[in-house]
């Protein structure tokens, strides 16, 4: 029983962190057909901005979180205007933006390295103490991460499902030309989506670094996992990505317990390959049918 609680607690925490970093990626792919390879660097940037605001400037935690989300959202808007927008009309947009964002990610990561150095730093935003659940101590930090993830998912569901902005985002994702013919200003939708994705990446970076510390390269591993989750869920499926993130987090925790940490990612990737053989368009993705 203790073990089960332990696995569920750490699995949900992992899954929640994956969900926050994945949802932004899925949203951008869904709306723009754009794999944002700078996502990992934006994640790290969020962690460092929060660190800078709290540790160096001595300001309270909510300001650190807010600053990180605003800065990372702004980076998203910059990526839209400097990279995505000039390429949008190109036939090879998907390839070009993929390569361009690899470059942007590298620049961002080097800027962080230059500003903060290569040594690991602790994330000041961390809760101490633990809650006793059936004899198992679940750190408050894990509960905070889970709570933030749930709030974020609910907020995204509300935004996409209930607001005018969300309808415009969904319409643009489903048919770019048709959205324009309805009067949707798709350039603005793209900028909004990248801003939102950036802000979520910033938040995710803070949570990740609160557990494993700050490093300029801290974003690459979570971004890889976020891609895996996006592909499993079906590229561009935002809600599917959130669910897949939680399931894969739980699975990873279980595999870690049963076989050891070193096998977790390998076994996870094998499962992913299995899923993709079974459903190449992802669990929640729709089979692409070309109709004339």
């Amino acid at each position: 029983m203790d073990v089960a609680i332990q696995i569920v607690a750490s699995g949900l925490t992992l899954g929640a962190m994956y969900a926050i970093s994945t949802v932004g990626l899925a949203l951008v792919y869904g709306a723009l057909n754009m794999l944002n390879m700078a996502h990992g660097a934006i994640l790290a940037l969020g962690g460092y901005v929060c660190y800078q605001v709290m540790a160096a400037m001595g300001l309270p935690a909510p300001l650190g979180v807010l600053a990180a989300m605003v800065v990372c959202g702004a980076v998203g808007v910059l990526i839209y205007h400097l990279a995505a927008r000039p390429m949008l009309r190109s036939q090879n947009f998907e390839t070009q933006i993929f390569i361009a964002t690899i470059g942007i990610g590298a620049i961002l990561q080097d800027l962080i390295l230059r500003a903060f150095g290569p040594q690991p730093k602790p994330q000041p935003l961390a809760l101490s103490g633990a809650l006793n659940v059936g004899g198992v101590a679940v750190p408050y930090q894990n509960l905070l991460i889970l709570a933030v993830a749930l709030v974020m998912m609910a907020a995204m569901a509300w935004l996409l499902g209930r607001t005018r902005t969300g309808r415009a985002i969904r319409a643009t994702a489903q048919n770019r030309d048709a959205a324009q013919l309805m009067g949707v200003r798709i350039g603005r939708v793209y900028a909004q989506v990248l801003a939102l994705s950036g802000a979520l990446a910033g938040l995710s970076g803070i949570l990740l670094s609160s557990i494993s510390g700050l490093l300029p390269t801290m974003g690459s591993d979570p971004m890889l996992k976020a891609f895996v989750i996006c592909v499993v869920a079906g590229l561009g499926q935002v809600q599917g990505a959130a669910i897949a993130a939680l399931v894969l987090g739980l699975l990873e925790a279980l595999i870690q317990y049963l076989f050891g940490v070193q096998y977790a990612f390998a076994i996870l990737l094998m499962l992913v390959i299995g899923v993709l053989i079974w459903r190449p368009f992802g669990i929640f993705g729709r089979r692409q049918v070309v109709r004339l």
């Binding site: 309808r167 048709a178 009067g183 949707v184």
Partner: protein, 236 residues
């Protein structure tokens, strides 16, 4: 003043020129049809008017307003509604949500409930299908959603691109019943249609597009009285 005034429009894709200097005038309340062989620029002309394709030369004025440099969303806001070829529905939304997207802009959103009733009155099947996901509809139903979604926007000029394309004869009759109703309502309509002699019964004016230019324009009755036009350009 013309409702729509096009002068010397040139447009194309990459190195390929499709429209080679087109001029067109449409009056308020006119029902005009673009006819002609496939691949000669009818769809490109509609896409240029709605801003999805940027014209390379020429002037476009709608109700006296220069729309040539406007974004597609601004052209919709100005009142030109384009029901595209192939419907381009939002496949993962319900019929109702597709229709509501038609009334996305604030001016149309204010009228949404009333417009929805009008669309359901014109296309009763959509009311029964309103909670169905668009990708699961039949071809005829999809076409009706596409037209209904365009009507939700209101607007001053409705452009329909091949409303009967690829449908079964019985469904084409239903679509033509809708076209007849639109004709009676006095709306300004610009329709692209493959079946020239059928649309000629409804259109005030027909414009025959061949190889990127207009080669003949005239009234519907005039067209039907001159079978040699059909033979020359439409191979029938």
């Amino acid at each position: 003043m013309s409702l729509l005034e096009l002068r010397g429009i040139q447009a194309g894709y990459g190195a390929q020129m499709v429209l080679r200097g087109l001029s067109l005038d449409m009056a308020q309340g006119e029902f005009a049809a673009l006819i002609g062989p496939n691949g000669h620029g009818k769809t490109t002309l509609l896409r240029s008017i709605s801003g999805l394709v940027r014209a390379r030369a020429g002037q476009m004025r709608y109700m006296g307003q220069d729309i040539g440099a406007m974004r597609p969303d601004q052209i919709v806001a100005a009142g030109i509604i384009h029901v595209p070829q192939g419907d381009l529905l939002f496949p993962e939304m319900t019929v109702l949500d597709n229709l509501r997207m038609g009334a996305y802009l604030p001016a149309a959103a204010a009228e949404e409930a009333a417009r929805l009733e009008e669309v359901y009155a014109l296309l009763p099947k959509l009311r029964d299908r309103r909670l169905q996901i668009a990708s699961t509809l039949s071809g005829g139903e999809r076409r009706m959603v596409g037209i209904g979604r365009g009507l939700m926007a209101g607007g001053g000029l409705l452009m329909l691109d091949e409303p009967s394309l690829g449908l079964a004869p019985i469904v084409i009759d239903q679509i033509y019943a809708v076209i007849a109703r639109l004709r009676e309502s006095g709306r300004s309509v610009l329709v692209v249609e493959e079946n020239a002699s059928r649309i000629a019964e409804y259109a005030d004016r027909l414009h025959l597009l061949d190889n990127g230019t207009f080669v003949w324009s005239g009234g519907g009755a005039e067209f039907l009285a001159q079978p040699e036009i059909l033979a020359t350009y439409l191979g029938g």
